[in-house]
């Protein structure tokens, strides 16, 4: 039982992070119709920025984290200007290649700036544990789940209840018509990239303290986010969050008992099976046409 609790806790935390990552690139997907393949490196960059503000600038965690996340927003807007805006209207392939290029630049720039040796990010709850039913759960994981739930609720609220959210939904449904109705598509896509990068920064700040921070930190998280998005049905925000938790718990709990050697492959196998059997996602209704 303690083992199960521990696995469940790490699965939930992992699911939370994955959901957060997925939320980030889904925002961009909604606003622009493009999947940003640089999302993983944005997460890595967020973690490194937090390392820099706390360890090198000597800020305490709260202003340090806040500065890192704010910087990420700016970087997101820059990314939109440099790698996306000039390509609007070009084929999907071209835009994806540009985001790949941006990812490569970011990844290498991080290496030049911070070196390739792993770094460590401090956290106010580092090394503290929460004892529950005989299991010790790192408090950082609890924080991750709580923060994620709050952020998800916030994003959903903005999306469903505010003018910005309505515009975003309009653009997602039909970009041209939305523009004709006066939605400032340009500004919206900048805001989406900025917010998305800030969410990536938040994800980086949250997972950084769990282990070490290195150049590959975000890549796996991004892949998990993709898997969650496919499980939940691309574009379905609630579905994606549920998908994220489902994947995290499946990987940790199933992987904790049975296929331990290959447990990190579980989300990907699950995702390929979902594409094969139910490409519209587990939680989205609709016909099974090509996507």
């Amino acid at each position: 039982m303690p083992k199960f609790i521990a696995l469940l806790a790490s699965g939930t935390a992992q699911g939370a992070i994955v959901a957060l990552a997925a939320l980030g690139f889904l925002l961009i997907y909604k606003a622009t119709g493009v999947v940003n393949f640089a999302q993983g490196d944005l997460i890595t960059l967020g973690a490194y920025l937090a390392v820099w503000t706390t360890a090198e600038l000597g800020l305490s965690w709260l202003p340090g984290y806040a500065l890192a996340i704010a910087a990420m927003f700016v970087i997101g807007v820059l990314l939109e200007r440099v790698a996306y805006a000039p390509l609007r209207g070009r084929s999907v392939h071209v835009v994806v290649i540009a985001t790949l290029g941006a990812a490569l630049v970011m990844r290498t720039a991080i290496g030049i700036w911070q070196g390739t040796r792993p770094k460590y990010l401090t956290s106010p709850v580092a090394s503290r544990v929460w004892r529950v039913a005989g299991a010790a759960v790192a408090l950082q994981r609890v924080v991750i789940v709580v923060v994620t739930l709050v952020v998800v609720a916030l994003v959903l609220w903005v999306f469903q209840r505010t003018a910005v959210g309505r515009q975003l939904r309009a653009v997602a449904a039909d970009r041209e018509t939305a523009r004709l109705y006066g939605v400032r598509v340009n500004r919206l896509s900048m805001a989406a990239f900025g917010t998305s990068a800030a969410l990536a920064g938040l994800a980086g700040v949250l997972i950084g303290p769990l282990g070490s921070v290195d150049q590959n930190l975000g890549f796996g998280v991004m892949l998990g986010g993709f898997a969650a998005a496919i499980l939940g049905g691309f574009g379905n925000l609630i579905g994606v969050v549920v998908g994220g938790f489902l994947l995290g718990v499946t990987e940790q709990v199933v992987g904790g008992y049975w296929v331990r050697t290959y447990k990190s492959a579980l989300p990907f196998v699950l995702m390929i099976l979902v594409i094969a059997v139910r490409p519209q996602g587990l939680l989205t209704r609709g016909a099974g046409e090509r996507l």
Partner: protein, 606 residues
């Protein structure tokens, strides 16, 4: 052009010249072990990227799995050659990579664009995990396999970089040759058609799924073979050699080199291998430069280095590029032949209707777009289908062609046609045209028309490699039929012109020529007169009548009453998805219900 000139201009000659030049350059300019290794590395990368060209450049599939398949080939070959020769390992690598690629492509067959990209990324991760964890397969702790058996032929061991060079060169040459054969075969136009507009390609009879899967398999197998040769050359393998860096590198090489040409991978790989050598002072910034180049390249020169070369060549007065779709020569041929409508099949009643639809229904969510339409079309009849906007005319055609999910019962010539499968009805001799002409701007007019051919013999990948004379014989016949069709619509002079250069009206004619060339038993036309002038409309009307005289039944959707009256013998009227009247042209257009539903506007319009 004389035979000698044609030979000199031929791509095979260029390939031979390239191979000789690469070998000579090595003799003269490449020295030292490091130099030889870099040269070999270029050939290895070039081959992997030629494989990727099949998947991405030709078939337009966004795959991130190329590097992982190279790794799989390497490890599989190592596993199987431990107690055998290198060749057993190579064959095993081909089988494993081919089987996995086929299985994967079939599993994710409904995924395109982002979904496909993400799925291949996941596949790459799964494979990478296997390489690092499955020691029994990789033959080394954490995938660090050493002592891999070198290549040998009849006891001659390719033990040094110098020797392996010849093997790598042959491998690249073969991959390029395979690509050239494909570029000069029906596979090229069908793959482009599938890539550019899959559902249209399917309704023309193109085996879209088979093409997509086989291109992915081909590219993955080329990667696997390269990987097998690579590890046999190096003598060791590590998972990271086939990791993310190569994965992104493959993209870089193809995009920078040029997606549109088979030479793009070769140039791109040279760039990828040699530029860092020249700029070694900046080696730290290598990937920043590459990443930036990728963004700049897609912005400014999406055609890559090959494209830049061609632009320079044209500036200096050279002829334009052959483009992705080399058109076939319009050779001399006999006079016009009458159409041969598709072979009549057993089971059909010669006096009865050729097409019947019973209770065909299409729903989009809560909207019933086509509400139980039952129609029949007699042999050699032109039936007009009219109705106000949104009455479900086009949707009905789409339902017959399987492009939208529908229920009901459709037979052609007595055979039941499965609904909801694009292309199913094509097999029974039914072709269609679209409201907005769906032609392929990356093809020549002749190639576009040849897409609809009913004779699909000898049009596959293997035939294009192994039985070219047979393929050429069938292609000649198909070409003649296509040229006849072009001549009938008056576009014979434009056979070699690019479809992109045609104005709207001619694209409509081209689409019609394509339909004619398919020798249809039944032709479904969606507003064939839309956007045409009065003179062009008369031309189309005459053409449709002559098609009917050749024995084809026509179902014509249109708005223009006089156009329908001029060609059709019977008319069916749709309103809100349901059939309100069917009958002779004269009775129908006098029917008060029809005037109410559809022609009522005449009172106001005068």
């Amino acid at each position: 052009m004389s035979a000698a000139e044609r030979w000199r201009a031929s791509p095979y000659m260029r390939l031979a010249a390239f191979m000789v030049a690469v070998a000579l350059w090595r003799e003269v300019r490449v020295s030292g072990l490091a130099g030889e290794n870099t040269y070999n590395l270029w050939l290895f990368y070039a081959t992997v990227v030629v494989g990727f060209w099949f998947v991405f450049g030709l078939a337009g599939q966004f795959a991130f799995s190329q590097a992982a398949f190279a790794g799989l080939g390497g490890y599989a070959s190592n596993w199987a050659s431990r107690d055998n020769s290198f060749w057993v390992g190579l064959v095993f690598a081909v089988v494993v990579c081919g089987a996995l690629a086929a299985l994967f492509a079939l599993l994710v067959r409904r995924a395109s664009h982002f979904y496909f990209a993400i799925a291949t990324l996941a596949l790459g991760e799964i494979l990478h995990l296997l390489f690092t964890r499955w020691d029994a397969f990789t033959g080394g702790l954490g995938g660090e396999a050493i002592g891999i058996r070198p290549i040998s032929i009849n006891g001659y061991v390719f033990s040094t970089s110098t020797r392996v060079f010849w093997f790598l060169l042959a491998m690249l040459g073969l991959a390029l040759l395979a690509g050239m054969f494909l570029q000069r075969s029906p596979v090229l136009r069908e793959t482009i058609a599938t890539r550019d507009h899959e559902s249209v390609a399917a309704t023309l009879g193109t085996p879209v799924l088979r093409l997509r899967v086989s291109m992915f398999v081909l590219g993955s197998v080329v990667a696997g073979v390269s990987g097998a040769v690579f590890v046999a050359w190096k003598g060791f393998a590590t998972p990271d050699a086939f990791g993310l860096e190569l994965g992104i590198g493959v993209f870089l090489m193809l995009i920078l080199g040029g997606v549109e040409s088979l030479w793009g991978p070769v140039l791109g790989a040279a760039f990828y291998v040699y530029i860092p050598q020249w700029l070694h002072r900046f080696s730290e910034y290598k990937d920043v430069i590459y990443g930036g180049l990728l963004v700049v390249a897609v912005l400014v020169v999406p055609e890559g280095l090959v494209g830049i070369g061609r632009r320079l060549y044209r500036l200096r007065g050279g002829p334009g590029p052959p483009g992705l779709a080399p058109s076939l020569q319009t050779a001399g041929r006999g006079g016009l032949r009458p159409l041969r409508p598709s072979r009549s099949r057993s089971g059909g009643d010669p006096g009865g209707p050729v097409v019947t639809s019973e209770d065909v229904r299409v729903r989009f969510g809560g909207v019933v777009a086509v509400d139980g339409v039952s129609l029949s079309l007699a042999r050699e009849e032109i039936l007009g289908l009219v109705g106000p906007n949104g009455s479900g005319k086009s949707t009905f055609l789409n339902a017959l062609c399987g492009v939208v999910p529908a229920s009901g019962h459709v037979t052609v010539d007595g055979h039941r046609v499965p609904l909801g499968r694009p292309g199913a009805i094509r097999r029974f001799g039914v072709l269609r045209t679209y409201q907005a002409p769906q032609t392929y701007s990356h093809l020549s007019c002749l190639d576009d028309v040849m897409l609809s051919t009913a004779d699909r013999a000898a049009s596959g990948m293997f035939v294009s490699w192994l039985a070219r004379p047979v393929m050429h014989r069938h292609e000649r016949e198909r070409r003649e039929r296509a040229l006849d069709a072009l001549e009938r619509v008056g576009l014979a002079g434009l056979a070699d012109a690019s479809v992109a250069s045609l104005p709207y009206g001619q694209r409509r004619l081209l689409e019609l020529a394509r339909a004619i060339a398919g020798e249809p038993l039944v032709l479904l036309l969606d507003e064939p007169s839309a956007g045409l002038s009065a003179a062009e409309t008369d031309e189309i009307a005459a053409l449709l009548r002559s098609i009917r005289e050749d024995g084809t039944a026509l179902l014509v959707v249109d708005h223009k009453i006089d156009f329908i009256s001029a060609i059709a013998s019977r008319v069916a009227v749709l309103e809100l998805g349901a059939l309100v009247a069917v009958g002779d042209v004269s009775t129908i257009f006098d029917d008060p219900r029809v005037i109410d539903a559809y022609l009522g506007i005449e009172e106001h319009a005068g």
